[in-house]
């Protein structure tokens, strides 16, 4: 009994001693921390402070939690708790876990600085506030920030942001007191702190205030400031640009001032209107000055009989003046415009009289919408003729001159106008019946102009046009004898003439008759294409679209455009065939492209012939070119009408097989496959059928005599042929019948009929007879209808 009691006492004592071990105490503390009982945990951790390495860190952590809990209620007590954590550093045992402890110290320091920061914000004295903020910033700079870096950075940014706002406000106060230099200094500080805090609003607004202060203080500023001002507060922007506009006007920088007013002060305001009025007063005064100059020059022109250089100078300067005044003084621009035609006539007469045709042409083509004036178009044609007759066509100008000439001659209005101008022709009437232009069908004609048959008294306008064309063509041949240049200009002339003729002969309503180069040069292609599209929409004549092709430049929709796409596509297909580029061909043979080609009858109808002729040329170059076979196959599959292509394919493949088999460079099995493809496209051709039958025979014989590699495929192919036999095939298969007959005779000599032989089981036949049986079956099936 005593022993039992002694044992119990020993156990209890052992347990009590165990409870007093530091690690047991530490575990207890952890348990209490887990239950948020920091006070009790602190008591235990303080006891084992020097005994357990984690105790100081955990003690600091408990204090930190306590500090965080009470900081909103009692900042001073919280600060003292956080300081206790920091002061633990002085009594840290040598075996303590320092790194864990340092993390807690960083956090404690952060909370002290944060409490300080919020307190500083409540200070009334700005100087003290700045001083305290800077001190607090120093604390942040000096702290280690371990594990709490992001929070410290954010806190730092808040300090900088507060500082920048304070300096901005200081600046504003100083600016209000007209102390601009100190205001600018403070705005500069604000910019510096705003930059550190990434506060773009304060950053841009401070720049705006600097700009405004400098304007108020009559100082200059760098242009780099403008980019920040555009991002500043709206009222700062308005203030700045209003003052800046006034400054620019005072410096007589009217163009920049107008640009700024239109861009940045684009709102309703009497004050902005006043700025605009100043600009208008300036412009009006300038215009009056300019008009006085014009009037003076006109006076001089009259006094000196219009010397050409003065006319030229006045004509050119009047354009600039018109441009300058037309927006704010439109009536004045009209008045200046009215003096131009007279000056134009004077200049043109001078250039023509002096045979300065290039100057004359430049003068005409700069005249707004000159192509709408029959007089100008006629003068243009005349000058082009004159320039050509002087031998002045060059590589640079021949296209422009020829196109202008043709446009002028093909304009029936030019001739109509000429008839109106003269009186010698009063005893005649004139007819457009054979004119080469549009025929003036839509115009009301004078009484002496008609569309009747030409006669001695009803004069053909067309004959006059042709006469002029002939004269011009003679000039081209006489004056430009250099072979290369002559060819170039004649080719161009023929192309332009043919194009304009094609369009003119269509008699399309409201079309502008001009040569392609002319319409492209003066951005008038739409005047041709739109009329052609409308005409096609009504009458669906594809010739109309074809005529529009040379004019279809920079056009992205409409019938002519689609027609052009289809022709370009056909050209690409032809080129792919010529270059034997099967990959390219496959990419072109899409359903979309098939639809595009089939949209236009003329293109789809000629498509097969185009391909046929292109392939024919390739075959003629090399009739053993196997690369053509897949190309032809693709073309047959793509073409809606493909009879000719199939016929071409069959003949080409048949010829190729015969040639190569005869030369022993193609085996009978390959040849049979190809010949069958030829047969598929030409089942009624006795030539193809006969050759196919011969190849069947060759293959069966090869099978019988040799170790035939492709026997399974070959018999499969023969079965396919058998299932696709045409009447012509039946007509032509004497050769196979003969072969079958030969086998029958051999069998007979062995006392067997064909049917008995076929019915024989393979097990009763040797290898050669099995082969013979297979051939006999094929021949029997191929020759039986």
């Amino acid at each position: 009994m005593e022993v039992v009691i002694l044992l119990l006492v020993l156990i209890i004592l052992g347990y009590l001693i165990y409870q007093l071990f530091p690690s047991t105490e530490y575990k207890k503390a952890l348990y209490l921390i887990d239950k948020n009982n920091f006070f009790e945990a602190i008591k235990i951790l303080s006891k084992i402070y020097n005994k357990h390495p984690m105790a100081p860190a955990k003690l600091a952590e408990c204090k930190l939690q306590l500090g965080i809990e009470i900081k909103s209620k009692n900042e001073n007590e919280a600060i003292s708790i956080f300081n206790e954590i920091i002061n633990l550093n002085n009594s840290l045992p040598s075996k303590a876990n320092v790194s864990e402890y340092s993390l807690i110290v960083s956090k404690a320091l952060y909370y002290i600085i944060e409490i300080n920061f919020f307190n500083i914000r409540n200070l009334i004295n700005d100087d003290l506030k700045i001083q305290k903020l800077k001190e607090n910033l120093k604390l942040i700079e000096n702290s280690k920030n371990i594990g709490f870096e992001k929070e410290f950075v954010n806190l730092k940014h808040e300090h900088f942001s507060d500082l920048s706002l304070m300096y901005l406000n200081f600046g504003i106060t100083l600016e209000k007191a007209a102390n601009f230099s100190y205001a600018i200094k403070n705005y500069t500080f604000a910019i510096g702190f705003a930059k550190k805090s990434n506060n773009l609003d304060i950053f841009n607004n401070s720049y705006a205030r600097i700009g405004i202060s400098k304007l108020k203080n009559n100082e200059d500023f760098g242009s780099e400031i403008l980019s920040f001002i555009n991002k500043s507060k709206e009222n700062f922007k308005r203030d700045f640009y209003f003052r800046y506009s006034k400054r620019l006007l005072s410096e007589k920088k009217y163009v920049i001032a107008e640009e700024i007013i239109n861009t940045h002060l684009n709102f309703n305001s009497i004050h902005v209107e006043n700025l605009k009025k100043i600009l208008n007063v300036k412009k009006t005064k300038d215009a009056i000055k300019k008009v006085k100059e014009i009037n003076f020059k006109l006076e001089q022109l009259y006094e000196n009989s219009f010397p050409i250089e003065d006319v030229k100078s006045l004509y050119n300067s009047s354009d600039i003046t018109i441009d300058n005044v037309k927006l704010f003084l439109p009536s004045l621009s009209i008045k200046i415009e009215q003096i131009k035609p007279s000056l134009f006539n004077r200049l043109l007469s001078h250039f023509i009289f002096d045979e300065q045709y290039e100057d004359a042409i430049n003068l005409i083509i700069k005249f707004p919408k000159f192509w709408e004036s029959p007089e100008l178009l006629k003068n243009l044609g005349m000058c082009c003729f004159g320039l050509t007759s002087l031998g002045l066509l060059t590589e640079d100008n021949f296209r422009s001159i020829i196109s202008c000439w043709l446009t002028s001659i093909f304009s029936d209005n030019v001739f109509l106008n000429s008839i109106k101008e003269t009186s010698w022709d009063d005893e005649y009437s004139f007819t457009f019946s054979d004119s080469i232009g549009s025929g003036c069908f839509n115009d009301i004609l004078p009484s002496n102009v008609n569309h009747d048959e030409p006669s001695n008294v009803n004069i053909s306008i067309g004959a006059a046009q042709v006469e002029l064309l002939n004269q011009f063509e003679s000039l081209l041949n006489i004056k430009y004898s250099d072979n290369n240049f002559n060819k170039k200009i004649i080719d161009f002339y023929e192309f332009e003439k043919k194009s304009i003729e094609n369009v003119a002969t269509l008699a399309v309503d409201n079309i502008f008759i001009a040569s392609p180069y002319f319409t492209i040069s003066f951005d008038l292609t739409h005047k041709v294409i739109d009329a052609l599209d409308l005409d096609f929409a009504e009458f669906s004549v594809e010739r109309t679209l074809k005529s529009g092709l040379p004019y279809c430049i920079n056009i992205n929709s409409g019938f002519v455009y689609n027609y052009k796409q289809a022709t370009v596509l056909v050209d690409s297909i032809i080129n792919a065939i010529i270059s034997e580029n099967i990959t390219k061909l496959i990419t072109l043979f899409t359903n979309e492209n098939k639809i595009l080609i089939n949209k236009f009858d003329t293109i789809s109808n000629s498509f097969q012939d185009n391909i046929f002729n292109t392939i024919l040329l390739r075959i003629n170059l090399n009739n053993e070119n196997e690369k053509l076979i897949p190309i032809m196959n693709e073309c047959i599959n793509f073409s809606q009408k493909n009879d000719k292509l199939k016929f071409q394919y069959s003949n080409f493949v048949a010829d190729l097989c015969i040639e190569k088999v005869n030369k022993d460079i193609m085996n009978n099995y390959i040849a049979l496959g190809l010949m069958y493809k030829a047969y598929v496209f030409s089942k009624d051709s006795s030539r193809i059928c006969k050759n196919l039958i011969t190849l069947i025979k060759y293959n069966l014989l090869d099978y019988l005599n040799d170790d035939y590699e492709n026997s399974i495929s070959m018999f499969k192919l023969i079965t396919e042929i058998q299932n696709n036999r045409s009447d012509k095939f039946h007509e032509c298969n004497e050769e196979l019948k003969t072969e079958l007959k030969n086998i029958e005779d051999v069998l007979k000599s062995h006392g067997l009929s064909i049917h008995e032989f076929i019915r024989r089981s393979n097990s009763s036949l040797n290898h050669n007879f099995i082969k013979l049986k297979k051939i006999t079956i094929s021949l029997f099936e191929l020759t039986t209808t």
């Binding site: 203030d239 006043n274 009006t284 035609p341 023509i352 100008l376 005349m382 004069i459 006469e467």
Partner: protein
């Protein structure tokens, strides 16, 4: 290519009678060859060819004789002094 009007030294509106008279004068003056004079006469007596020859006469666009431009514009005189610089003061 010389204008037939120039060879015969006549105006654009000359009638048949004047052309024939001019032909005789031109032959007397001997400035141009007989062949050139005959060709010019033939052109001017053929209305179609004459129409083609007329193409080489410049046509004038409609124009009025330029006269002085009046400058009696009314405008409100306003100077920079009339502008209130602080109209959009932002502080």
């Amino acid at each position: 290519m010389i204008s037939p009007y120039l060879i015969l030294n006549i105006k654009q509106d000359s009638d048949k009678k004047q052309i024939l008279k001019a032909q005789i004068l031109a032959m007397k003056n001997k400035i141009y060859t007989l062949q050139e004079i005959a060709k010019a006469t033939k052109i001017l007596l053929d209305p179609s060819k004459r129409l083609a020859a007329d193409f080489m006469f410049p046509a004038k666009i409609k124009a009025k004789r330029p006269s002085k431009i009046s400058v009696d514009f009314q405008f409100e005189e306003i100077t920079l002094n009339d502008i209130n610089e602080n109209a959009f003061d932002s502080i």
